[in-house]
Amino acid sequence: MIKIHDISKVFNQGQPNEFWAVRGITLDIDVKRVTVLRGPSGSGKTTLLSMIGCLSRPTSGRIFLGERNLSGLPERFLTQIRRETFGFIFQRFNLIQGLTVLDNVMLPAYPLAPDHGALVQQAHALLEQFGMAAKRESKVEWLSGGEAQRTAICRALLNDPQVLIADEPTANLDTRLSQEFMHIIDELKAAGRTIILTSHDPVVSDAACVDRVITLRDGQVQDS
């Protein structure tokens, strides 16, 4: 269970352009479920998601991963948790240009320095699973939107995380590819992973595999 207790996040605190992106949200997110954070632009979806994924810290409040309080941990431990627990799929995929599909997929494991042969084998298996094996030596800038997203999914799964976090994953995909993506999410849920998505795409929020939709507005939970 991921427990979020009264968290707030303010940007440019004390400045004339101070902005409260998240205001006192309290939530429990179940494991092995698909949860969608929905809301208009500026509602705080991405900020909340980045705090859950240890990409940033809340200004106040606490986030618990199981029994562990993540909010007060130093950066090094946060990085370790992020690497071991979370896998990220970004809105614009954020693949490293100029590198091959295989190199991009293996990147999250570099700081762990596993045996190179085993790492390549693991990356191959993932690429095979998501139908990208034939493209493994292609540069990522040559990929179509769907291929780039599948590469991003493989990268997110390399360290075998419990929680998969995806920020607006279908924003750059057409309906067919969006449905394909949700099919993959369904498979990952069936494999026992916890999935948290942000989206205002009905293809995502209306998908059968989604267990819960939380609606945000102006940094607060409107409906959960």
Binding site: L55, T79, E84, N94, L107, P108, Y110, A156
Partner: protein, 377 residues
């Protein structure tokens, strides 16, 4: 393989792949960097080699030379000064020397005429240095005519040509016997150019010089170590001139490299954000950038230094020889012997590899310590 080494290998792999993405730009940087190291290392290696060569050649020179001074200028010294010096403790030999300079208008060059102590030369004969032989096209048996101080012509027959291995200081040398030397320059018997003293214990040399200054107040003792220091200063001065000439291009490179290394493009900042978001630590990002700086600068250093080694020791420093050697007007044909000074390599390494690597790492520090959530926006 240890975890640490494997981790560095992964980081180096990524760095190389990263550098490969901007191949043209990075190869250009490597090329210019290598050229700068090549130029600096060539000058350093060659100057060092010259100083060393001069030092080796002076090994057999006398420890102390006494010159007579008249009105602050070097004058001939009477032979009775040898008796006046008498027996100074520590001096194992003393003798008068005859040498002088002669300007040859035919080739517009200065020659050094010398009466050797260890070689018998017949009247009317001479032994010439390699530089003179080459310039005047002389071989054994040829004749060379000079106009003496009294306006008479002196024809010398070339008996031999000096070996070229000591050419740096013997290129312009002409050896004649004492009688011919005195007749040619009009130096009367009983006068010498200077007096040489051999002192076996190097720690006694300064004491001997002090005694001589007291005993013969109108003379100045010149120590071999002072001559060595002068050579050192001379070659360092020449090296300095070349460095000043290179200064402009060096400065341009420093500005270019600093800008390249320290300026982070928006794309690079985004990549750092991605790497952190997918689980890289700040330290990993900094180490990766360190490897980028180190690989470029170390590569340039090694390539530049090897090229300079080849240039100096296999191609006789063709680019700098005229400026750095410049002995009289007859350029010695001198082949530097391979010699690398560890301290010099370390100095060059420090001033080329270190600043670039630091310039690469420092700006990363700020970018790498920011929260990685920027990639979400």
């Amino acid at each position: 393989m240890s975890h640490f080494v494997r981790r560095q290998r992964y980081l180096i792999d990524f760095t190389l792949a990263s550098l490969g993405r901007r191949k043209g730009k990075n190869l250009g940087l490597l090329g210019v960097y290598t050229l700068i190291v090549f130029l600096l290392a060539s000058v350093m290696l060659f100057s060092q080699s010259l100083r060393r060569e001069a030092g080796l050649l002076l090994e057999n020179a006398p420890e102390v030379v006494v010159q007579r001074m008249v009105a602050g200028r070097h004058d001939l010294i009477p032979a009775d000064y040898l008796e006046r010096i008498g027996k100074v403790r520590g001096v194992v030999a003393k003798y008068g020397r005859l040498w002088g300079y002669f300007y040859d208008p035919a080739v517009q060059a200065n020659y050094t005429l010398l009466v050797p102590r260890d070689r018998q030369i017949k009247n009317g004969e001479m032994i010439v240095g390699h530089g003179i032989a080459r310039t005047r096209g002389l071989g054994a048996g040829d004749y060379l005519t000079f106009r003496s101080a009294q306006g008479q012509s002196f024809a010398f027959r070339v008996a031999d040509v000096l070996a070229s291995d000591a050419e740096l200081v013997s290129a312009d040398l002409l050896l004649v016997n004492e009688a011919d030397f005195r007749a040619f320059f009009g130096i009367t018997a009983g006068m010498y150019t200077d007096i040489a003293l051999e002192v076996r214990n190097p720690r006694e040399v300064r004491k001997v010089a002090e005694k001589l200054s007291v005993m013969l107040p109108d003379t100045r003792p010149i120590l071999r170590e002072e001559i060595l220091r002068t050579y050192d200063a001379l070659f360092q001065w020449r090296q300095g001139i070349v460095f000043v000439l290179l200064g402009g291009s060096l400065l341009a490179f420093v500005i270019f490299a600093w800008d390249k290394a320290s300026g982070l493009s928006a794309e690079e900042k985004r990549e750092i954000g991605i790497l952190k978001a997918i689980g890289w630590e700040t330290g990993d990002v900094i180490r990766m950038k360190f490897w980028e700086g180190a690989l470029v600068s170390l590569g340039a250093f090694l390539l530049g230094y090897l090229a300079a080694y080849g240039h100096v020791f296999f191609f006789d420093a063709a680019l700098f020889a005229p400026v750095l050697k410049g002995w009289a007007v007859l350029y010695p044909r001198f082949h530097p012997q391979p010699f690398v000074d560890g301290l010099q390599v370390a100095t060059l390494f420090f001033f080329t590899v270190f600043p670039y690597t630091v310039a690469t790492v420092v700006p990363i520090w700020r970018a790498a310590t920011t929260d990685p959530d920027a990639v979400m926006r």
